[in-house]
Subunit: 225 residues, 2 copies
DNA sequence: GTCTATAAATAGATAGAC
DNA sequence: GTCTATCTATTTATAGAC
């Protein structure tokens, strides 16, 4: 009996541990989103999780590791979303809907960006420190993070190239520039400014940022021009 | 004789003081641009200026005041640039050049944005802390900063409204959204990413960011479409 | 005003009991 | 693993001589 229960017991214990660490990374995620790595203190994390600071250090060896774990969780979440999106329509080809040319690749890029903005507005997007910091080094050294980042970049990159081939994304822009421009939406201060102004709903903010990102500030000449 | 020299002596002394403080704000400006407010330490500033830390505190009462002075200098520099730009062509009206419609207001907005990006690439654009920090409060409380910010916003705002009226800037976007989007170029991480990649010259980076900002990521349909 | 030396406060990390 | 209490390093800020 113990022979069959032992593994279950172990699994349960492991699950508890994982749940606890999940709770920690969730708090870190939120704090990282709210104030960033430098301004976030380990005391705050401990207070928000509801455990002693020393207990935190039993799970993670440093503040960097702590933040790293949260970033890994976030990037893997993004990877999961993108892979689901990719699986929805296997064929990455141009399509025709109601006489208007559309692109599955472009659609996916827009959906990803919207998803990012939603996460950001929900306070769940841990912002990378814009300036070089100790966190950067830790992230670079983290296999799971770099793996996730590479997978995400590959997926987005493929859609970018595809959308450029199909004539939807400006082919004069290097794909890497387009990629960075999309990544930058994750730390777009416009979102926060507009949110603080309280003049617009989250949906309106998202649509405005989507417009400035994909259509730009200038008017689009319609076919009637 | 002393009666005529005294004021000169005083003025000279004041000029020295101002020059010293100018040197300090320049260093702060650079460090603020490089690492941001949180990561910048007063020790670093003192070391870079070449004076003792205690001497710094004779000029400024706190780290916030120190950074504040640098930000005021920066915003006033921007204000000066915009006012010069405004004076160059008094009439903010639509124009016709070689059969193509152009807009003086749009031209000014683009010039301002280019100027911002150049400053940023030169490492002279002190980045506002994206998250709430003690610096924000100090800036809000600083009359000269708020005055400068308001003047800058008024100038840009007028050009935005004008360009929208003339049909060059997307009128579906609230002017404040356009304003924030332009302000956001000052802390655009894409610029830094592209600079780090060392694949493009500063001019190329600027042109790419100008394109993504004003034209967006999607292709523009030419009249031939 | 500038310096050296130091105070005071904060934050990352650890010791050791339970 | 969790806690309280503490250590250590860093950083903002100041005292006091010159």
């Amino acid at each position: 009996m113990t022979a069959t229960l032992e593994p279950l017991k172990k699994s349960f214990k492991a699950q508890m541990l994982e749940a606890r660490e999940q709770a920690i990374t969730a708090s870190v995620n939120r704090l990282l989103s709210e104030k960033g790595f430098d301004a976030m203190t380990v005391d705050e994390v401990a207070a928000e999780v509801g455990i002693a600071k020393a207990s935190l250090y039993k799970h993670f060896n440093s503040k960097e590791e702590l933040a790293c774990a949260a970033m890994v969780q976030a990037i893997q979440k993004a990877q999961g979303y993108l892979e689901d999106l990719n699986a929805q329509s296997a064929d990455n080809t141009e399509a025709e809907f109601e006489g208007a040319r559309t692109s599955v690749a472009l659609y996916k890029l827009k959906a990803s960006t919207r998803w990012t903005l939603q996460l950001k507005l929900a306070g769940q997007m841990p912002t990378l420190p814009s300036h070089n910091s100790s966190l950067r080094a830790s992230l670079m050294a983290s296999r799971p993070y770099m793996d996730g980042l590479m997978k995400v970049s590959d997926l987005l990159g493929a859609w970018i190239v595809q959308a450029q081939k199909e004539g939807f994304i400006n082919a004069a822009l290097p794909p890497i520039t387009v990629l960075y421009t999309l990544y930058a939406r994750a730390c777009d201060p416009v979102v926060e400014f507009l949110k603080m102004s309280e003049l617009h709903s989250n949906e309106e903010i998202i649509e405005m940022v989507m417009t400035t990102c994909f259509d730009g500030l200038m008017v689009r000449k319609t076919k009637a021009s």
